[in-house]
């Protein structure tokens, strides 16, 4: 089907036919809520759709609904995600398997409706699993897998599925939409362990802790997240067997004998792959790692994937304000992973595409030539660089 990325997400939601969806419109996610409401209006789903008065209310309703023991989904972007902040933490800490589509968009101010990753990166410590999608197809596939991952009995954790606002969100591409029954079979049925509606076995959700239990509860939560990687890989494999597209933690391209590597999330991977392909033709030993799972962060897996590489460039579509030299969050994680493993690779950071700024192939070519120089000289001239910035 020729679909916009946002519609691909909505298609996945239609096939999942969740029990409750609570959502509020915000560009560029609006297409997801609108499309889904139309499915409700046309009887294509029999979901209870709650058109709430704000994103904070959307996540509040999702939490109440999920605690009541059914499948719950929502979608948002940017300021909407920021308004949910308090509730994101509560959803994860109450171990509620909510699935949320995030169509990435810049955070205000200045107000900007175009793509960068400042919204989902700002939510990175809330305890949600985060999957990033390069294309509408991946947004669709990831959404279906997210339901299985979230509901896995070892996890019971909420999952965010990202795609790039407008770039994939509003771009029409061919998306292979699976058979409804195949999707339904893949996600199966969900039986909650605890439910507010089980009036014969009353349970208390959302108690409060003093110093005597809070710490242990947080430890349990982080333990659960540490089990997520295996579940994500298992579900990605099974998805591959069923639908022909296998998913892992990251997607390596030309990495087998690579001496230089670029790490990037989401749609920019497409541009980067094209450039890498061209450079490979010219004999440069460069590869690409498209990171799919950012939370939990696959530190060991990345270290292993980069072990034979001399220099690594990390592309960040957001800034971690006040971090070392104003670097991006992905870069900081990669540095930490390599350092902790005692690895010796040189690492360099590129901030790009903020507020929807285009990413041109020549920018990636510049990254590649910097990488070559770093590998040759063993020196990183500037740790944090900007692509496509007027200075």
């Amino acid at each position: 089907m020729a679909l916009e990325g946002a519609h691909a997400s909505a298609q996945a939601m239609r096939q999942i036919n969740p029990d409750v969806v609570a959502a509020y419109p915000i560009t560029p996610q609006t297409a997801v809520v609108q499309t889904f409401s139309q499915y409700v209006a046309d009887g294509e789903v029999d979901t209870e759709f709650i058109a709430v008065e704000s994103e904070h209310a959307a996540m509040s309703a999702c939490i109440g609904a999920a605690a009541a023991g059914g499948r719950v989904m929502t979608a948002t972007s940017a300021n909407g995600l920021a308004l949910m902040w308090e509730e994101l933490y509560i959803a994860a800490s109450l171990r509620l398997p909510i699935v949320m589509t995030v169509v990435n968009r810049a955070l205000s101010a200045p107000l900007n409706i175009h793509c960068d990753h400042s919204d989902s990166m700002g939510a990175r410590d809330a305890g949600w699993i985060q999957l990033y999608s390069e294309t509408g197809q991946e947004a669709y596939d990831n959404t279906i897998q997210a339901m299985r991952i979230a509901e896995h009995p070892d996890l019971l954790l909420p999952v965010m599925v990202m795609q790039d606002g407008f770039i994939t969100g509003h771009a029409v591409e061919l998306v292979e939409v699976a058979d409804d029954t195949a999707v339904r079979e893949f996600i199966g049925t969900y039986t909650p362990k605890y439910s507010l509606l089980d009036i014969d076995h009353p349970i208390t959700f959302g108690a409060w802790d003093l110093w005597d239990y809070y710490f242990e509860h947080k430890r349990q939560q982080t333990d659960a997240l540490s089990k997520a990687m295996k579940v994500i890989v298992d579900v990605g494999q099974e998805f591959g067997k069923t639908f022909g597209r296998t998913y892992g933690i990251f997607d390596p391209y030309a990495m087998d004998d690579a001496e230089l590597a670029i790490i990037v999330l989401s749609s920019t991977a497409g541009t980067a792959r094209t450039v890498v392909r061209e450079l490979r033709k010219k004999g440069l030993k460069i590869g690409l790692l498209k990171l799919r799972v950012f939370r939990p962060f696959p530190a060991q897996e990345l270290v292993a994937a980069l072990k034979d590489v001399k220099a690594v460039a990390v592309l960040d579509r957001s800034i971690s304000f006040g971090a070392m030299e104003g670097a991006g969050p992905v870069f900081l994680e990669v540095c930490a992973a390599l350092f902790a493993a005692g690895a010796a690779q040189k690492v360099v950071n590129y901030i790009y595409g903020l507020g929807g700024r285009d990413v041109l192939p020549e920018y990636i070519e510049r990254v590649a030539s910097d990488l070559r120089e770093i590998a040759e000289t063993g020196k990183v001239k500037t740790l944090v660089n900007y692509l496509g910035l007027r200075e």
């Binding site: 029990d19 409750v20 609570a22 029999d46 979901t47 209870e48 709650i50 058109a51 709430v52 008065e53 704000s54 904070h56 209310a57 509040s60 309703a61 999702c62 939490i63 109440g64 609904a65 999920a66 605690a67 009541a68 023991g69 059914g70 719950v72 308090e86 509730e87 509560i90 439910s195 507010l196 509606l197 089980d198 009036i199 009353p202 349970i203 208390t204 959700f205 959302g206 108690a207 409060w208 802790d209 003093l210 239990y213």
Partner: protein
């Protein structure tokens, strides 16, 4: 159905003993009166505040019914989400219909102030739930700060009485009227001193096919500064002075539930509490007159609404 005290007392407790409310607090009294009055199974939510803190300290819980706490402002929406899930799971045949009633409980801070948007949204969408505001006229859980329900002239820790300022400068927000403007099936104002009235209101709220709201006057001896044994007396005086009238609005029809035989001066009620003590100093006496004038004006207005 007549509410018989003997029968009510024999019912199993839904809010169990062993909670940590302060001695003399009205909140557990009110919660028990309400939960006792409702015969259907219930799912209860509470906003952050005294009720939540007093009943849910891990690993204990005082709740013998399913209960959820989410955050300070959104108990209405949280319960609305649970109610939506209940409806869809019954519709899809995944769980049996059990006639469950959904109850959201919030303090005046959670209701009048921070949670008003969430509450208004949930009322507009018509979720079938009962919202109970436990109105102790300040943020008690965090140490007696003013809320928009705090009466004029009251001393709180963020509207302190000083040498030049006589406590809170503004009149309380007319929340019950604001809720009434949402045209939901049932709205009421109640007090635990008039327990039969409160329990009947709880039953009507439970029977309403849509959202319902009860604003319950909830004495806090810590914040109001009086002894631990006088909550019900002080509450009764608030009703007798017409400071806290008991009324209900059923499908748009206003009804006064209690008319004192003799309307007492509001001063008698103010006198019972330390939070108004400063008003009895000569330089602040005019505030008492202002409060009386406002109470009279609101009372007259209410009588008119209930006559029509």
């Amino acid at each position: 159905m007549v509410i018989k005290l003997k029968e009510q007392a024999a019912k199993p407790e839904r809010l169990a003993p062993g909670h940590r409310f302060c001695a003399g607090c009205a909140e557990p009294i009110i919660i028990r009166q309400i939960l006792n009055a409702i015969d259907e199974p219930v799912v209860v939510g509470a906003a952050t505040g005294c009720t939540e803190i007093a009943t849910s300290m891990y690993p204990y819980t005082a709740w013998n019914v399913p209960w959820i706490h989410n955050a300070f402002e959104n108990v209405s929406t949280t319960i609305a989400g649970a109610e939506a899930m209940y409806r869809v799971l019954v519709r899809r045949g995944k769980i049996p219909e059990r006639n469950i009633r959904f109850i959201a409980i919030g303090g005046d801070g959670a209701t009048y102030d921070i949670g008003l948007q969430w509450l208004s949204g949930a009322l507009e969408r018509g979720h079938r739930f009962i919202y109970i505001c436990l109105n102790n006229e300040a943020y008690m859980n965090t140490g007696i700060q003013r809320s928009s329900a705090t009466p004029m002239g009251a001393h709180t820790t963020t509207s302190p009485a000083g040498t030049v300022i006589p406590g809170k400068m503004q009149w309380r927000k007319p929340l019950t009227e604001i809720i009434t403007a949402h045209r939901i099936p049932y709205v009421a104002q109640a007090a635990p001193s008039h327990w039969r009235d409160l329990m009947e209101k709880a039953r009507k709220a439970a029977a309403a096919d849509g959202p319902s709201f009860i604003n319950v006057f909830s004495d806090c001896n810590r914040g109001w500064r009086h002894g631990t044994e006088t909550a019900i007396e002080v509450t009764r005086l608030a009703v007798e002075t017409c400071y806290w009238p008991l009324f209900e609005v059923e499908n748009g029809v206003w009804k006064l539930n209690y008319k004192p035989r003799e309307k007492k001066p509001v001063e008698e009620w103010l006198k019972t509490q330390g939070r108004f003590q400063h008003l009895f100093q000569p330089q602040f006496k005019h505030v008492i007159a202002e409060i009386q004038a406002r109470v009279d004006e609101e009372w007259e207005g209410l009588l008119k609404k209930c006559e029509a």
